[in-house]
Amino acid sequence: MKLIYERSQEGRRASTIPDPGVEPAEIPEHLRRSAPPRLPELAEPELVRHFTKLSTRNFGIDTGFYPLGSCTMKYNPRVNERLVGLPGFRDLHPHQDDADAQGALELMWRLQEILKEIVGLDAVTLQPAAGSQGELTGLTLMRAYFRDRGEDEQRREIVIPDTAHGTNPASVTMAGYKLVRVKVDQRGNIDLEDLRGKVGPQTAGLMITNPSTLGLFEEGIEEIEQIFHGAGALLYYDGANLNAVCGITRPGDMGFDVLHFNLHKTFSQPHGGGGPGAGSVAVRDILEPFLPAPIVARDGDAFRLEHDRPKSIGRVRGFGGPFGVFVRAYAFIRMWGPGLREMSEIAVLNANYQLAQLREAYEVPYDRTCMHEFVLSARGLKREYGATALDVAKRLMDYDFHPPTVYFPLVVPEALMIEPTETEARETLDEFCEAMLQIVREAKEEPEVLKTAPHTRPVSRPDEAYAAKRLVVRHHFDDET
């Protein structure tokens, strides 16, 4: 379909800007805009049609099942959209005085308290903008802690398992740490043998998800904790998979010292085609002095932004964090209440239910009870019929499902990582499994159908190499050369 710039016609517009009836004001000539930006020009009806049509070329949770592993694509309650739209939240200026933002501050304070209870840690900063930024914040906190103890120069390494999400190693580098990789054993756990050899006085910490990106609970977690704490190092918990364990087990109780939440995953934020998120960070008391300022503090019935934190690492984002995300996360948790455990139970039940139906037809690299997600391998299909994980993913589209995450974690060849979440009905889980099984039959009987899939979407297999080669990353207007 046309780009909005291709629908544009000179002289059209949707907006009318009020004329304040005052004298026009000067801009120094050499700073004045020389040529107007070629923004779209179209009247409001065309604007609405353009974006309405664009939306129909997109698939969201509201459209159907979206088992994108590691992303926790659960239903986003509609009431939350109404709540963030309350003028008292939506139109509140972040420089408003604390006294005139008590409702917002109370909400943030309550959320901090809730998050602490859920993970069993002592203090929370809501500031980080997303999980990745939470990681960078957490690692920076660890550095500040060690610097404070005079160990920063000594402790330069962060240990990460091969199963880790790409953000973990990337964050390690950006925090100025050196990456040390540890292997995974036959059961999908961290290889303790390998690990012991890699932890020592040079170690700043460990960084893992638990359950891991294989969807498996780290069975040696107690020993791992001893290894790191025994070496004077810290443990970082990537909270991306927290949906598996709320109310069941707590990272703080497992011995983790610092973690980030992905509020947008666990606590149901509309992912908006890529974001926004929130990567709130929780820490054990020893790390609290270093948290970014401001933090919401409570004095009796009053709430305030506490800016004065002398040991703080500083600010990681503007203002107090992505407030709209807090509103939704807080609302979501309040609707579950103390029964939040049930959310995780059903997430895990749903995943195991699907795993049970698919474990015969696909390979299961680590065949254990899974947590909220599971990883299959299409290796067998590839070997026998030449059908790859990508082919399976593309073919699923024709059955009206969003594909799972593919080719991750990297330790599993032809990986298909499936996370159904707790908000899916049994029929949907069944239908997806039927499609997955049907695709296995198709791979056998008519592999071409897979290779050329999808057949029902607006486009099919866009050429990524061609895109990277041409590098057309913006519209070029006709009159350009």
Binding site: P20, D91, A101, G103, G273, P276, G318, R457, P462, A467
Partner: protein
């Protein structure tokens, strides 16, 4: 039960399929000692009805810009967000989708991002924009990392007239990046290009802000030229709402342009979520952080959009990635695109001109001493002769928030208030501001 479908019958059938007898069995891999063994200590569950009442009470305790006459700005502005923006963002197909990893499922959002990238490039005069950064502060840190990768240098030079929060964020992360930060002080509200040239020696980049933190127009071309002369990347932190009337950074030699997207299409929302934008000359495309959408063709030769240059990214390059960013601010950036499309070039210019004209009118109408006597854009700092916090408190009693107490960030300006104007403000409202300031003993002679 409200957001799950599990009935007792479902549960039983599912457990049977799995081959376990209870949900508890599914957690067998978790060591007993680590099980919580109690219910979470959270307040009782609320129904949607009760939740709505509770949240309304919280919201009522915030004084939002509809409840007082507000001249607050300082980086976040009360521009009008038209209804079409909400209408588009609330489409479930956009709202509830995630990153377009599978282009066939996500042409809608991919094309929208491509259109957004184009709009940002047009505004800034750049060649390539990413799909959004977190906000206007984090993109400053992003720019540092780009500059390090691109130049191999490690020195960061910041203008003191760059938004203080942006400077703080850079300071937080620079050590991790292996970079050190130098600031160039302002003189009478602006940066001296010659002084900047000196500081920029061996620097990876220089970040300055236009209009700057005081609302003052820097001699941006001269600053960019001073940075470039030293081989440092010139990075302009710009206000999108100024770019209908102020020159595009790409036109005066900047390597990158960054900024806070909020004023262009996002609600204030107590500081977030918003979008940060980051655009660059094509030379730096391979160093940029975050998603970038590119045009290509599909199996049938049809035009299609995909995430491109993914080899920069963490999921491919891991510890060698140009950034760790994954989730970004696409929905807010989409809001920006819808807003900018609603405005069009003329609307954007009009908002710029009219906000600016209102600000100049307010300067005249208030007749107060300016903290710095230099050309400004839609925001300016006045001296009140009294502690600013007191003046603000007194005005707020009258339902007017006169502006930001910038002395918080800049010592020596304790009696200063920064006053921001947008197209939503009117001449009558400026009169009202003058009245309440006068009642607070400020600008007594101003009453006409």
């Amino acid at each position: 039960m409200t957001f799950t479908s599990l009935t007792d019958a479902d549960r039983e059938a599912m457990l049977e399929t799995i081959g376990v007898s209870s949900i508890e069995d599914l957690f067998a891999d978790i060591p007993q000692a680590l099980r919580l063994g109690r219910r979470l200590d959270l307040e009782p569950a609320l129904s949607e009805i009760e939740l709505s009442a509770h949240m309304s009470q919280l919201a009522e305790r915030n004084v939002h810009v509809g409840r007082e006459l507000s001249f607050l700005g300082a980086g976040m502005y009360d521009h009008y967000v038209p209804a079409v923006v909400d209408a588009v963002l609330q489409r479930g197909e956009f709202l509830t989708a995630y990153t377009p990893y599978q282009p066939e499922m996500s042409q809608g959002v991919l094309q929208a991002i491509f259109e957004y990238q184009t709009a940002i490039c047009e505004l800034t005069g750049m060649d390539v924009s990413n799909a959004s950064g977190y906000d206007g502060t984090t993109v400053a840190a992003d720019a540092c990392y780009v500059a390090k990768l691109a130049t191999g240098r490690t020195k960061v030079v910041l203008a003191e007239t760059l938004n203080p929060q942006a400077r703080q964020v850079v300071r937080t992360f620079a050590p991790g990046f292996g970079m050190e930060v130098v600031e160039v002080p302002h003189h009478d509200g602006t940066i001296d290009p010659d002084e900047l040239r000196g500081a920029a020696k061996d620097a990876a980049l220089v970040i300055f802000q236009q209009p700057n933190v005081f609302g003052i127009l820097e001699d941006a071309p001269a600053l960019a030229e001073a940075a470039s002369a030293q081989g440092a990347l010139a990075v302009a932190h710009v206000d999108p709402m100024s770019l209908g009337v102020l020159e595009a950074p790409g036109k005066y030699g900047c390597a990158m342009a960054i900024g806070e997207g909020q004023p262009a299409g996002n609600n204030l929302s107590y500081g977030g979520p918003h979008y940060g934008f980051l655009a660059a000359r094509m030379d730096f495309a391979r160093q940029l952080p975050g998603r970038i959408v590119g045009e290509t063709r599909d199996r049938h030769g049809a035009r299609a959009y995909v995430l491109t240059l993914q080899t920069r990214e963490q999921h491919i390059r891991r510890e060698k990635a140009t950034s760790n960013i994954t989730s970004n601010q696409t929905l807010l950036a989409l809001g920006g695109l819808v807003y900018l499309s609603w405005l069009g070039p003329h609307g954007l210019a009009e908002i710029g001109e009219r906000s600016h004209a209102l600000a100049e009118h307010a300067k005249r109408r208030l007749g107060l001493t300016l903290a710095f006597d230099k050309p400004t854009f839609r925001e300016f700092v006045v001296r009140t002769g009294r502690p600013a916090r007191e003046v603000i408190d007194e005005c707020k009693q009258q339902g007017v928030h006169p502006g930001y107490a910038i002395g918080r960030d800049y010592p020596g300006l304790d009696d200063a208030i920064m006053i921001a104007l947008t197209e939503k403000r009117t001449v009558e409202e400026i009169d009202r501001l003058a009245d309440v300031l006068q009642a607070a003993g400020v600008g007594a002679e101003a009453r006409s």
